[in-house]
Each structure stands twice: as C-alpha cells, then as structure tokens.
Symmetry: C2
Subunit: 369 residues, 2 copies
C-alpha cells in the first residue's frame, strides 16, 4: 500500500493533485549525510555493493525533502562489471574498466552479465523497498534503473568516461558487426537485470541513455533507440496486476522526440534544451499518449532562492499553457518534475528545499486556479 | 579574381557544379606539416600570433586536399585576450585566463577588446589573402571567424574549458544583469573584430557558437542567438559590391533550426545530430531561404576508406532526396559539405583524401544523374 502514488499516476497518464517531483542523482555528494555514509563505506564501490549502505543513502533525500519517488542507489556500470570487465574507481578519477573491449577477440569473448554477481543490487532493491514502509504504508514508490545498451557499450569499449567515446564510435563506423554483437548482449543483460529488479521490489524502471546524444541522426534510432526498444519488449508489462511504468532518458535527445515516443516507454525524460511545453504540444499533435519528465537545468540550483523559484515556475507555467495529454487531464498532469540531468555535487542542499516547495505549492495552485 | 567560387556561391544559394567542401579545424594537429610549423613557432600562441606562421598553416590543407575554402588560422579566445584577461596555454592543457570574470567588480571593469592588440590577426588575414594568389588568381575564398558572444562569455567567466561552464551559467541564472553587461561588450567586440577581418581580406565570416547547446530552451534564443543576431546586424552587408556570406554554427543547436533561420545569417552550420536533409525539408516548408553546412561526424573519419565513402554518400543521398532550396536549384545546391565539428587531432590525413574525393565525385555525379 502506497502512501503517495503521485509519481506512478503521473507516469501512467492519470490525474494527480499536484506535480510529483524527484531528482536524478538525488542521493549524492551534495548531501553531507551521503558523504558520511560513503566515508563509512570506504569507497564508492564499497557503498554501491553493500545493500545496507545503499539503502541508507537511498532514503537520505526522502528524509530531507518531500520527494515523490525513491531511486535505487547504484551505478550504471554494474552490468559490465558483472560481465567480467573489471570496474574500478581510482581516487579522484571516474570509473574505468581493466578489460575494455578493444579487440575483435575481446568482443567475441563477451558474455552476458552473470546475474548472481549482481545479487547485491537485487538485495539492495528488496531492502530499500522494505525500509520505505512507515506506519504500515510505503512512503513513495521505488524506481529501478539501468544504463542503456549503447551507453554501456560506450564505457565498455572506451574503457572509461570520455567526451567523444572515440573508440566506441570508431567501432560503430568501422565494424558495425562488432558493435551489434555487444549491443545484443547488452540488450539481453539489461532486460534480465531490470526484470530481476522488478521481482525484487522496483515499481518503475528508468533507462539512462546518457550518451545517445553523441550519435548522428539515423544512427541514434538504429543503435541506441532500437536497442532500448528491444529491452522494453522483453520486460514484463505488469507486476502483480499493476502496469510497470518505464522511463527512457536520452541526454541531448530532444530532436528525436517523435522516435522516442515509439519506444514502448511510458515516459520520456527531457534535458533542459527541449522545452517540456513544446514537447507536450508536439506529442499531442502527433497523438502520442506519453508522459514527460524533467527538466530544470541542474545549474539553475546554483542561483539564489528567488531565481530558483522563478525558473521552476517558468517550466510549470509553460506546461500549464500547453495542451493536456488527454481530454480528462489538466495540462500539468502526466508530467514528473525533475532536473534535466543529475544534480551537481556542488549544489547547496537548501536549494533543493526551495525547489521542492515551489514545485509542490505552485503545481497545486495552478491546478486550482 | 577567384579561381574557385563554389563555396561563396553555395553560401549565397546559387547553383554550383558540385558540392563545395572544407573542414572545421582543417589546419590542425592531424597534419604533420602543421606540427612541424608549430614546433618552429614554439607554442600555440607563438603560432597564432605570428602572421607568417598563421599563413603557412592556413595554406597547408589546401596544398594537400582539393578544398574549396581557406579559413584563417587563429583561436576564438583572441578577443578576451585583447580585453586584458590574459590568455595562456599551459603545456598539455587547454587555454585558460589569468583574470576570469568572477566578481561583480571584474565584470564592471570589463572593456571592449582593443583592436590594436589584434593587429596580428588582421595582418594574418591580409597575408593569407595575398598568399592564396596563384597564377594571377585567388585559389579559394578566405573565411574569417570569431567565437559567439555567449561562447566567449563561457570562457571569460569560467576561465578555462569546462564540460558545464558552471560559473557562466550560474551568473546567467543568478545575475542576468552581469551576464548581459558581458554579452553587450562581446557583441560590440565581435562585430568590430569581424568587420576588421573583412576589411583585411576575409570574404565570408563564420561565428562559432560552440557552447550555445548548453543553454536551456528559451535561454538559447535570448542569450546566444540574440547576441549573434546583434553582431550580424552590425556587420557590413557588402564589401566592394559583393554580399558577404555569414555562417552561424551552434553545436547541439538542431532543435533551434527555426530560430537560427531568423538570425540574419546566410548559412546554418549543423552538427551530426541533425540530418541535413531533414533540416532542408524543414526550412523549405517554412519558406526560409538559407543554405546549410555540415555535417559528417568527425569520428566517421576513423573508419576504413569504404565506410568513410559510404558515410559521406549517405549525407549527399539524403539531401539529394530533399526538396531544393529554390525552384531553379538542384537539391544538392546551397549546401557546403563539412564535418559536424572540428576534425580530431587523431585523424589519419589519408582519410581526408578519401572524403574529399568522395564528396567531389559523388556530388558531381548526382547532379548529372
């Protein structure tokens, strides 16, 4: 029994009393309590691989802010790690793999992720789900997630973060057969991973396609979007008689809105370059019943409280003037407020308080006006 | 007298026998002869600030490849340098400023660039223009350029390259009055700088808006595009009775095509996320007579020759099926082939030979077919 089902209702295109809100990377380094837990865990991987710590940090932002969803604390690179690529986080640097896929032999030897090695993730999901219960009710729904097959391939081939993922894209142009082999394995692994998160207690799923926006038009559709669609096709449509909402988020994907609307997802996440109001108008024009999530620029949280309030209201005011997704809905329905990308580690935690208060009060006010 | 005016004709929406081609950053580190000149010059700034060396490297790619335009070798940060911000290139790192605009006082004290300090740029333009003469004719036209007012502001405020230009965007959200002050000064300086490049011999101008794509929808139009429009409004429309073509290029700007078409520019440069064919169709539908430039993914040059050829043909085939810009033109007219961003330093120079041959032969073949 959910005490707050606004997030799930908005994802499924149902009426809500106000706009639900959560933030990508809401459990993160901008919170002193997160840094304290991370210090206890000794390292990022020590934190992510320990279900008790993962549960602790997942709940921290919910205790501080009136958010409408929890999201599993984990890393998108757990899957390639469970494929044997050897994930490591060197101090002061980003993640990297000991065995990136740089040769034909390495690609041919790639095997799907061993789900047993990911048991710590499923244990975390189950433990978070239990810990969300308060006074006999679950406070908010729990979102599970994965990186997209293409985004995982970027890290698997280049071996670490990059601004152009040169090796992955060279393989795409030069040896599309090898990239296809990797994507097929990633599709299979991501689908199995997300399905197991659902079985363990996740109530919605999000696919993070962080690097889809690096692809040329045409390639995005064939490479990243098509493989996300294959994942979605393999996921259970329902769990215990409930439809499971699926969110896809391609950073820099605003140009491909029409294509994303055909992915089988229930919600499209937008970064801040594409207006939520324009996206809604376009989807309604094309008769696509799909909800939207986003899209305040994370750096808007670096402004003073008055400006944070103004920027959040601007998004809500814009959408309020756009058409409703369906005849029986308010224009603000079927929208989940979020940032357009993960919250910056340099954010003042008090800025999130201002944002939450604004979204909650103003989205309720506009619905009554 | 120009031996080859294809580039200018395509910019101005006139018929050409084949598609003209040049490459952003065509004089660069992927060329051994460039590296040799740079070694002689001692440093990047030593190269950029010496008109003889700048002329030498500008001409190098023309001697190696059948390109249809030369572009001034310089750096977009020359303007803030001439405002007194103190440009430096530390070994192995990107450019940075000794005096970034981090305080209200620093912003208020900012003065327009001293054009006398930029005389080395104008001297280079004049010298390149002269050196382009062969057998009494100018081989190809010379493009002058500047960073956009917003892109310059990004570096001026953050003080160096960044993946999010956190300080610039914080100022934008928090103190829009200070950012406006900087943009006004940048508009004035960019317009004066480009005008002086024209007087010195540039025959077309390009404004590089490398970081416009970081802006939220709405802000892009108000901040970056509006300031580019102000620059264009201040430029001479003609030089010696000839219309001077102006190209604007916002990386990640595909979503804002309709807005860019209102900038006063003659050509819109596209990165690889927006199909040239779709952009053409959209502009024709909206009755906007504006040429397009782009947009092969620079990393496609890392593929084998057959794949490079296939990717270049794909762009031409796509545009060939799109509507012509005007009734008397071929669909391939009013398009300048280029990359969607600067060529990578890791490119094999032979790959550019393959690309040039493909664009030249195939764009001529399609026009005759």
């Amino acid at each position: 029994m959910l005490a707050n089902d606004r997030f799930l209702r908005a994802c499924l295109g149902q009426k809500t009393d106000r706009t639900p809100l959560w933030l990508m990377r809401q459990a993160g380094r901008y919170l002193p309590e997160y840094n304290a837990t991370r210090a206890k865990a000794g390292s990022f991987l020590g934190l992510a691989k320990n279900p008790a710590y993962a549960t602790e940090v997942t709940l921290q932002p919910l205790d501080r802010y009136p958010l409408d969803a929890a999201i599993l604390f984990s890393d998108i690179l757990t899957i390639p790690d469970a494929m044997g690529l050897g994930l490591q986080f060197a101090a002061g640097e980003g993640p990297s793999f000991t065995h990136p896929l740089r040769t034909e032999e390495a690609v041919k030897n790639l095997r799907p992720a061993d789900l047993h090695q990911l048991q710590y993730v499923f244990d975390a999901v189950a433990q978070i789900r239990k810990s969300l219960i308060q006074h006999g009710k679950q406070r908010v729904p729990l979102i599970g997630f994965s990186g997209s097959p293409w985004t995982l391939a970027c890290y698997m081939i280049d071996g670490s973060g990059s601004d152009d993922f040169r090796h992955a894209k060279t393989m795409m142009f030069n040896r599309p057969d090898l990239l296809k082999h990797i994507l097929d394995i990633n599709v299979q692994s991501v689908a199995a991973y997300l399905t197991e998160q659902l079985r363990s207690g996740a109530q919605a799923l999000m696919i993070f396609d962080t690097w889809g926006g690096l692809l040329p038009d045409g390639w995005y559709q064939e490479i990243s979007l098509a493989s996300m669609r294959k994942v979605i096709d393999q996921l259970p449509q329902e769990l215990n008689g409930q439809k499971v909402p699926i969110i896809i988020f391609t950073k820099g994907g605003g140009l491909w809105l029409d294509d994303m609307a055909e992915s089988g997802a229930d919600v499209i996440g937008l970064d801040w370059t594409m207006s939520v109001a324009k996206a809604r108008a376009r989807l309604v024009e094309k008769n696509k019943s799909i909800a939207l999530q986003g899209n305040l620029d994370p750096l808007a949280l670096f402004a003073n409280p008055e400006q944070i309030e103004a920027q959040a209201k601007k998004i809500l005011d814009g959408l309020n003037k756009a058409p409703a997704l369906k005849a029986d809905l308010h224009p603000l329905d079927a929208h989940i407020f979020n940032l357009g990308h993960g919250i910056s580690q340099f954010t003042n935690p008090d800025s999130v308080t201002v944002l939450a208060k604004t979204v909650i009060e103003y989205s309720e006010y506009l619905r009554k006006a």
